[in-house]
C-alpha cells in the first residue's frame, strides 16, 4: 500500500478522499433543495476571495486563502439573494451574472498578481483546475478545520435540516427558524466548496457537490443512506481521480476527478435498481414477456 506510506501520495490520497466524502455528503442538501447551480456560482465566486486574501496578507497559507474564498463565496450568495429578492431578475440570470462577474474580477486580480511577480504567488493559478499533487499535510488540517465543524453542525441539526430540505413550508408552520437554517445550509455548502478548491479547482468544484448526490439518490429512498452513499461515491471518485492524475505529467486533478465521478453518476442513472433507466427497460421487457407467456 504505497498510497498510504509514501508521504506525497498519502497526502493526495487522504486529502482527496476527505474532500470527496465531505462534499458528497453535504452536496445532498444542495441537490435536494434545488440549489445545485448555486454551488456552481459560489465555487466560481471563490476565486477573487483567494486572490484578495493573498494580496492582503501576502502569504500563501492555505487556511488564509480558503477563508478568503469562503468570504467571497458567501458575499456572492448574499448578493445573489438580494438581486432575486429586490429586482425582477430571475434566479437563473442572477446566478449566471454573479458567476461571471466574480470570476471575471478574480481573473483581474490574478493577472495583476502575475504581472507583479513574487515567489509566493506561484501556484495560485492551480486553484483554477486543482492540483492534488501539491497537497501537503498542513492542507489536510486546513480542510479538516473547515469541513469538520460544517459536518458536525449538519449532524447536530440533522432532523431539522432534513425536514427543511423536503418540506420548508411544514417546517415553518412548526415554528422552526427556517431562514436561519437556510443560512446555515448555505454556509455549510460554502465550507464544502472551499475544501475542494485546492484539489478540484474553482471551475469544476460544483460537480463534486452535485454528482455524488445525484448518483446516490438513484440507489435509495432514504436520506441517511443517500448521504452516506454520496460521501462514499465522492471519496471513491476523488481517490481514483487523484491517483490517476499523479501518474500523468501535467494532468490537472480537477478534470480527472470530475470525469471519474461523472462516469459513476452515469452508471447509477443507468443501472440503479428500481430507478435506473436500463433497469426500468429490463423490467418492462420482462413484464411483457411474462404477459405473453400467460
Amino acid at each position: 500500500m504505497e498510497l498510504f506510506t509514501d508521504y506525497t501520495l498519502r497526502n493526495v490520497t487522504l486529502g482527496s478522499m476527505l474532500l470527496g466524502a465531505i462534499s458528497g455528503l453535504l452536496g445532498c442538501f444542495a441537490v435536494l433543495r434545488r440549489q445545485a447551480l448555486l454551488g456552481d456560482a459560489m465555487s466560481h465566486a471563490a476565486l477573487p476571495g483567494i486572490a484578495l486574501a493573498f494580496l492582503l496578507t501576502g502569504q500563501r497559507n492555505t487556511l488564509t486563502l480558503l477563508i478568503g474564498a469562503a468570504i467571497a463565496a458567501l458575499a456572492a450568495a448574499l448578493w445573489l439573494l438580494a438581486i432575486v429578492r429586490a429586482t425582477r431578475i430571475k434566479d437563473d440570470a442572477a446566478l449566471a451574472f454573479i458567476l461571471a462577474i466574480f470570476f471575471g474580477f478574480g481573473l483581474v486580480l490574478l493577472s495583476h498578481l502575475q504581472r507583479h511577480p513574487n515567489a509566493a504567488q506561484a501556484g495560485l493559478k492551480s486553484f483554477l483546475f486543482g492540483q492534488a499533487a501539491a497537497l501537503v499535510e498542513r492542507d489536510l488540517w486546513a480542510m479538516l478545520a473547515i469541513g469538520g465543524p460544517a459536518l458536525a453542525l449538519v449532524l447536530f441539526f440533522w432532523p431539522q435540516i432534513k425536514l427543511i430540505s423536503f418540506d420548508p413550508d411544514f417546517a415553518h408552520s412548526l415554528g422552526l427558524p427556517v431562514r436561519r437554517f437556510e443560512i446555515l445550509l448555505t454556509g455549510v455548502m460554502v465550507a464544502a466548496i472551499v475544501i475542494g478548491l485546492q484539489t478540484v479547482g474553482v471551475v469544476l468544484m460544483s460537480a463534486m457537490l452535485i454528482a455524488p448526490a445525484v448518483a446516490a439518490r438513484q440507489w435509495t429512498h432514504r436520506l441517511e443512506t443517500m448521504a452516506l452513499l454520496a460521501g462514499g461515491f465522492g471519496a471513491l471518485a476523488a481517490f481514483i481521480g487523484a491517483w490517476i492524475s499523479t501518474l500523468g505529467e501535467g494532468m490537472a486533478t480537477g478534470p480527472v476527478i470530475v470525469l471519474t465521478m461523472s462516469v459513476l453518476t452515469a452508471l447509477s442513472l443507468l443501472i440503479a435498481p428500481e430507478r435506473g433507466l436500463l433497469w426500468r427497460r429490463f423490467r418492462l421487457v420482462r413484464n411483457r414477456w411474462s404477459e405473453d407467456a400467460a
Binding site: V31, A100, L107, L128, V203, A213, L269
Partner: protein
C-alpha cells in the same frame, strides 16, 4: 487601423453579438445554459482538432456549434428521464464534457495553441495579430468572425422576432398558433452556441457568459419594452467592453476580466439609479408616499376639529405628537412641509387649514 482601436472594435462587435441572444436567454429563464454552452463548446473544438489535425479546419467551428446544441439536448435528456431535476442536470452535464475537453487538451493537444488558460480568459490583446483579408481589406480574423455572428444573429432576430417574442412571453399561445416551441428553442440555442464559439476565441468562456447575461439583466432594470430592451442591452454591452478595455490598460490587468467586472459595475449602477426600479428611486418614492400620507392625516385631523370647541387643543402642533403618535421631529417637518405647500397656516398657537388644505383633505 491601429491595434488599440481594433481590439475595442472586436470587443464591441462581440458584446453586441452576445447581447442579442442573451436577451432571450434571460427572458426565457435559461441564462445558466449560457454557462454550460460556453464551457462545452471547447470539447467540440478539441474533437474537431483531433479529427482534422489542424487548427484552421472548419471542423473545429462546426464541432463546437454541434457540441453546444448537444449539451442542451443532453441536459434535456437527463432531466427528461425524471431522475434528476433540471438545475442538477445542467450541473452534471457541463462539468463532465468540460473536464473531458481539458484532459484531451493536456494529453493530446497541449503542444499546440490550445491551452486551458486562454479558454477561460481569451487573449483579446493578441487578436489583432491574427489577420485575414476580407473584401480586399486586411482585417483581424476575430473582427470578421464576430461581425459575421452579429449579422447572423441580427438577421435571425429580424426574421423571427414575432415568433421569438410570442414563444417567450406566452409559450402556450405560441404552441396553439402552430409555432413549434422546440424549433424556436433549438434555433435560439444554435445561435447561442455559434455566438459562444465565435466569441470564445477572443474573449474566453467567462466573458461570453458575462456579455450574454449581464447587459440584458441590466437593461431589464431600465425598461419594460422588448425593442428597447434589445437596443439597451447592445449599447450597455458595448460600453462595458470599451470601459473594460481602458480599465485593463490603466491597471495592466486581464482585458476579459476587466470587461466582465465592468458589466457587473454597470449592473450595480443601474440597480442603484434606475428611474423607477432603482434603489434610490424606490427610496424616494417611499419617502414621498410617507409624506403624502402624513399630510393627508394632518389636514383630515384639522378638518375634523375645525370650528369645534376643542379646536384650540386639538389643532395645537404639540397635540399632533400625542394624537397621531408622531415623533416630534417628524411632526415638525410635516407641519413645515404643509405650510410650504400652502395647506395650513399658523394662527397664534394653533394650526388652521387654508382653502387649499380643505380641498386636499376632502380629496381623500
Amino acid at each position: 487601423m491601429n491595434p488599440q482601436v481594433e481590439v475595442q472594435l472586436i470587443a464591441v462587435v462581440i458584446a453586441a453579438a452576445c447581447a442579442l441572444p442573451g436577451v432571450f436567454l434571460v427572458l426565457r429563464r435559461m441564462a445558466m445554459l449560457s454557462d454550460a454552452i460556453s464551457h462545452t463548446v471547447l470539447l467540440g473544438i478539441v474533437l474537431g482538432y483531433l479529427i482534422s489535425n489542424s487548427l484552421a479546419s472548419p471542423l473545429l467551428f462546426i464541432g463546437a456549434i454541434a457540441m453546444g446544441v448537444i449539451t442542451v439536448w443532453l441536459v434535456e435528456l437527463v432531466s427528461g428521464s425524471g431522475l434528476v431535476r433540471e438545475d442538477a442536470a445542467i450541473g452534471l452535464v457541463f462539468p463532465a464534457l468540460f473536464s473531458l475537453a481539458v484532459l484531451l487538451i493536456s494529453r493530446y493537444a497541449g503542444n499546440v495553441h490550445l491551452d486551458t488558460d486562454s479558454v477561460l480568459l481569451g487573449e483579446l490583446a493578441f487578436a489583432p495579430f491574427d489577420r485575414v483579408s476580407f473584401l480586399g481589406l486586411d482585417l483581424p480574423r476575430a473582427l470578421v468572425t464576430g461581425a459575421g455572428a452579429l449579422s447572423l444573429n441580427f438577421i435571425l432576430l429580424f426574421l423571427f422576432y414575432k415568433e421569438l417574442k410570442l414563444a417567450t412571453f406566452d409559450p402556450a399561445l405560441a404552441a396553439t398558433l402552430g409555432f413549434t416551441p422546440t424549433l424556436i428553442h433549438y434555433g435560439l440555442m444554435t445561435s447561442v452556441s455559434l455566438t459562444a464559439v465565435t466569441a470564445f476565441d477572443a474573449v474566453g468562456s467567462i466573458l461570453v457568459i458575462a456579455l450574454m447575461v449581464a447587459p440584458p439583466a441590466t437593461a431589464y432594470l431600465l425598461t419594460d419594452r422588448l425593442p428597447r430592451l434589445i437596443g439597451l442591452s447592445v449599447a450597455i454591452g458595448a460600453l462595458d467592453a470599451i470601459a473594460g478595455y481602458w480599465i485593463a490598460r490603466l491597471f495592466d490587468v486581464s482585458i476579459a476580466g476587466a470587461m466582465a467586472t465592468m458589466t457587473g459595475f454597470s449592473f450595480l449602477l443601474a440597480w442603484l439609479f434606475a428611474p423607477r426600479r432603482g434603489i434610490v428611486a424606490q427610496a424616494l418614492q417611499h419617502r414621498n408616499r410617507r409624506e403624502h400620507f402624513a399630510l393627508q392625516m394632518l389636514t383630515l385631523h384639522l378638518l375634523n376639529h375645525e370650528g369645534s370647541g376643542d379646536a384650540s387643543i386639538e389643532c395645537h402642533p404639540r397635540h399632533l405628537i400625542e394624537e397621531l403618535r408622531w415623533q416630534p421631529a417628524f411632526a415638525g417637518a410635516i407641519v413645515r412641509r404643509a405650510e410650504q405647500r400652502g395647506l395650513v397656516r399658523q394662527q397664534g398657537d394653533i394650526l388652521c387649514l387654508t382653502e387649499q388644505g380643505r380641498a386636499f383633505a376632502r380629496d381623500l
